[in-house]
């Protein structure tokens, strides 16, 4: 039996039923985006970083020295893998993570106050600029946190912890009427 994890979101059971209209503060769960991990070969970290930052078709998230997460909304997982393999041409190992990671997109005026309940990072724009990203601890779950706009953040979490993180985020956002739905 083939289990198709890519077509079954980890949060299907949490978001069952008719979607409610999104509120001011909204948590969108990424649907069918491709995520890949790029691990630079020793000594090639700088060249891989410049190659990745030169591309504009996908978002690059810093996770550790010589290690990035690449998120693409338009590619299939196989397509992203091929594209990255062609781009890095032997300078990096590409590991597909599309089925293994769940993407949470928080937006709204209260996002910083919501995230501050679980993340011990300075989220002020002067400390975490738009486009910056890093791994961080949210509650007890290690996530990749990225600021994609003034009041929008994206969290990439391991699939196995997605339900727990979802519950945490909804509890953190209850005070601000956080709504949740799959991204369009």
């Amino acid at each position: 039996m083939i289990r198709d994890y890519y077509n079954r979101n980890a949060l299907d059971e949490k978001l069952r039923g008719a979607p409610r209209p999104p509120g001011v503060n909204h948590l969108a769960i990424g649907h069918r985006q491709a995520v890949a991990m790029v691990l630079a070969v020793a000594g090639e970290e700088d060249s891989v970083e410049s190659l990745l930052s030169s591309a504009t078709d996908f978002a690059v998230r810093f996770s550790a020295p010589g290690e990035w997460l690449v998120v693409s909304e338009n590619d299939t997982p196989e397509g992203l893998q091929r594209r990255l393999n062609a781009l890095c041409s032997g300078r990096a190992h590409i590991v597909d993570q599309s089925e293994a990671r769940v993407l949470f997109r928080l937006s709204g005026p209260a996002t910083r106050r919501i995230l501050a309940k679980g993340i011990g990072l300075d989220l002020h724009p002067t400390a975490l600029a738009t486009g910056a990203s890093a791994n961080a601890l949210c509650g007890h779950i290690s996530v990749n946190l990225a600021r994609t706009g003034e009041d929008t953040f994206e969290l990439i979490a391991p699939r196995s912890l997605a339900q727990s993180l979802f519950d945490d985020l909804m509890t953190m956002g209850r005070e601000y009427d956080l709504t949740a739905a799959f991204a369009a």
């Binding site: 996770s63 550790a64 020295p65 011990g120 990072l121 890093a134 791994n135 961080a136 601890l137 290690s142």
Partner: protein, 92 residues
């Protein structure tokens, strides 16, 4: 204990993101060293009051091993370096 650690890769982070992996000032003895030298290396630890060098692993962040120089009495953090850079500087 020092509650904020400035990771050279990730920036200022709370100590909950780290795992402390022990004394970083120890040097592994040669394989042929005496049993006493190996016993000291494996089991014997000081309990310093003052500056110490420790391995801290940023498990919830970049997952790198860092060498943190901190004061166990005043809780000041004096320096944080990447473990690989520290080993290179000290010729290990």
């Amino acid at each position: 204990m020092a509650s904020l650690i400035t990771c050279p890769h990730c920036g200022v982070r709370p100590k909950e993101e780290f795992a402390i992996r022990g004394d970083a000032s120890l040097v592994r003895p040669a394989p042929t060293a005496s049993d006493e030298a190996w016993h000291d290396y494996v089991y014997v630890r000081t309990n310093p009051r003052g500056r110490t060098l420790e391995h801290w692993q940023h498990v919830a962040g970049c997952r790198r091993f860092l060498v943190v120089e901190r004061d166990t009495f005043t809780h000041d953090v004096h320096s944080v370096t990447d473990g690989a850079a520290f080993a290179r500087e000290n010729g290990r």
